[in-house]
């Protein structure tokens, strides 16, 4: 292998990349725009659940429960419904997301030290949202219960000495979705761009006929592939810096761990994605085919990564497939570094997996390329 030759190829690739005016926004603006878009769109936080209440109790106790809901950022008191029927109508028309029905004997039962019931009505047609809203509502009620008990003037709990779990959520104390998702977006964006740029850069040479010219030169396949991948490796790492910096500044997502380790790990991750990009370029004749094939890869990579849908809940076979997904491993690393601040001592299995997948994918692409570059 000849270092000077690779250097000139890298130089040429950079010249082409930055000379094309259409590429510049793609390189810088696109990742930031996507980050912002994803950052605002991909959120599972319960906010502003519209609430309607039918209070048949009309007592200080029932009002304090309603106030507890109103005080929570997860809920917004929309209106007081006149009766149960109009509450149902509100839910049906999607004017509200949650209906609370406080029965007339609510305060009476509580002061008589008997359990009182509050009916919570949710719209089950939005199952994923509803389960989270139900949990948030449950939390408000439990919180209110606890305060009621600690007031002293009120009756003590009938199950006096029971176990009370004190839950502390570490690493993301408020269980906000943004610190969870934004690091994943960083990984996903870098994968998308590195895949696309690599496969396109090689297929473009085929389309332009320059590949034919290169084959007649003493250029070795490995030199060519390095010349094609080094620039995009560097560009992708640059985008990592850009996107992470932006995620911290704009979304205020804390980076708890070592940035150096994160870049080392993303280096391993990029070997995998660049390998896939090379492979795509060997099976595509036109840039259009390359783009379509890239998206064919992106969807399973995305779904089987644990980015949105937890891998732990998938069927066994699918979980096994997810183990082969570099994005899944990189997400473990990215979230570990961002949220937990852990390093190689904890994350080495994921790093090892990335290195293994990278070696196999890149090696296979190299072999395939050697056999039939065109």
């Amino acid at each position: 292998m000849n270092g000077r030759c690779v250097r000139e190829l890298v130089r040429k690739e950079f010249l082409q990349l930055f000379r094309d005016r259409r590429n510049r926004p793609l390189l810088i603006v696109a990742p930031l725009l996507q980050l912002i878009l994803f950052g605002y769109v991909v959120t599972t936080d319960v906010r502003e659940t519209r609430l309607a209440v039918v209070d048949e109790s009309r007592t200080p106790l029932s009002r304090s429960l309603i106030e507890a809901f109103a005080a929570s950022p997860a809920f917004r008191l929309q209106a007081s419904a006149a009766d149960a029927r109009s509450l149902e109508e509100d839910l049906l028309q999607r004017r509200v997301d949650l209906g609370i029905h406080i029965a007339s004997d609510f305060a009476v039962r509580l002061t008589a030290r008997r359990p009182a019931e509050v009916q919570l009505l949710f719209d089950g047609s939005l199952s994923h949202l509803t389960s989270q809203r139900a949990a948030a509502a449950q939390a408000v009620i439990e919180d209110w219960n606890r305060r009621l008990l600690s007031l002293g003037s009120e009756p003590r709990s009938p199950a006096g000495g029971g176990i009370e779990g004190r839950i502390r959520t570490w690493y993301n104390p408020n269980l906000e979705s943004r610190p969870y998702f934004v690091p994943g977006i960083v990984a996903f964006l870098v994968m998308l761009l590195s895949l696309l740029f690599t496969s396109l850069a090689i297929v473009r040479e085929k389309e332009a006929g320059t590949m034919e010219q290169l084959i007649v030169t003493p250029l070795r396949p490995v030199e060519f592939l390095l010349g094609k991948t080094i620039p995009f490796f560097l560009v992708a790492q640059g985008q990592m810096v850009l996107v992470i910096g932006f995620a911290r500044a704009w979304f205020e997502v804390p980076l708890a761990g070592s940035a150096v380790f994160l870049f080392a790990a993303s280096g391993l991750f990029l070997v995998c994605t660049l390998g896939v990009g090379l492979w795509i370029s060997t099976v595509s004749r036109t840039q259009q085919q390359a783009v379509l094939t890239t998206f064919l890869f992106l969807v399973p990579f995305f779904l089987l990564s644990g980015f949105v849908f937890p891998i732990e809940r998938m069927p066994l076979l699918v979980r096994a497939a997810a183990r082969l997904n570099p994005l899944a491993h990189f997400l473990v690393i990215v979230r570990g570094v961002f949220l937990k601040g852990v390093g190689p001592t904890v994350l080495w299995p994921s790093c090892l997996a990335l290195a293994g997948i990278g070696a196999i994918v890149f090696g296979a692409a190299l072999l395939k390329f050697r056999k039939r570059p065109g």
Partner: protein, 247 residues
């Protein structure tokens, strides 16, 4: 190295299809060798085998003094190749293209300035050296492609239909340039559609359906095929040769 190309029984089969059927070829040092024939005759396949891109199915021979089978990779260092579309990077400048090929051909960097200067002077690219290739006329692009193919000073140049899409004036300049090269002992192996260009070749070979139908100096070929018509051209001779094969 008296013979730039010397192959015997060269053949290439793709599955059951025989593209090149056991041809013999010799090209002398400093010779312009014209390679003619209709589309699909096997010209490109032959050139690709001689350049070391395509592994022959059979035969033996040497190109640029190296064995076609054992030294295919090293052959690439000794030959220059100019494809039909002058495959250059059209979003780079001529200077950037030249620099890239200097790197690819492993020319020592201490020689780069000198080689670029030489290339620019010989093909007359000076005013366009730092302009994007895309904007240059076809003639200038062709000269740049030639300059790139000559940077590593090959002794043998393969030109695959180099004059398609170039205006007559540029074509004439091109052939004069090739003539100048051969006077330095460089051989040129040229495939072309333009039969009138064949007159500029020392010898020509006519290929048809994977075989070489006729080979020799153009004038002599015509005289052999049409002895009674001294005014006849290569075109007439080839028409008779190809018709004879078809019958």
């Amino acid at each position: 190295m008296a013979e730039a190309v010397a192959v015997r029984g060269l053949s290439k089969r793709f599955g059951r299809f025989t593209a090149v059927d056991g041809i013999d070829l010799t090209v002398q040092e400093g010779e312009i060798f014209g390679f003619l024939g209709p589309n699909g005759a096997g010209k490109s396949t032959t050139i690709r085998m001689l350049c070391g891109i395509l592994k022959p199915s059979g035969g033996c021979g040497r190109v640029a003094g190296l064995d076609l089978f054992r030294d295919a990779e090293r052959i690439k260092r000794r030959i220059g190749y100019l494809s039909q579309q002058f495959s250059l990077y059209d979003d780079l400048t001529p200077y950037e293209n030249l620099r890239l090929f200097l790197g690819i051909y492993r020319v020592a960097p201490s020689l780069w300035a000198e080689r670029i200067e030489e290339a620019v002077a010989s093909v007359g690219l000076r005013p366009d050296l730092h302009r994007i290739v895309r904007g240059l006329p076809p003639g200038a692009r062709q000269r740049l492609a030639l300059a790139c193919a000559l940077l590593h000073r090959p002794r043998l140049l393969f030109l695959d239909e180099p004059t398609s899409g170039v205006d007559p004036l540029a074509r004439r300049a091109f052939w004069e340039f090739i003539g100048g090269l051969t006077r330095q002992g460089i051989s040129a192996f040229v495939s072309t559609h333009h039969l009138e260009e064949a007159d500029r070749c020392g010898r020509v070979a006519l290929m048809h359906e994977g075989r070489i139908v006729a080979c020799g100096p153009p004038r002599r070929l015509v005289a052999e095929v049409l002895p009674e018509r001294p005014e006849a051209g290569l075109e007439d001779a080839f028409a008779i040769l190809l018709r004879g094969r078809a019958a």
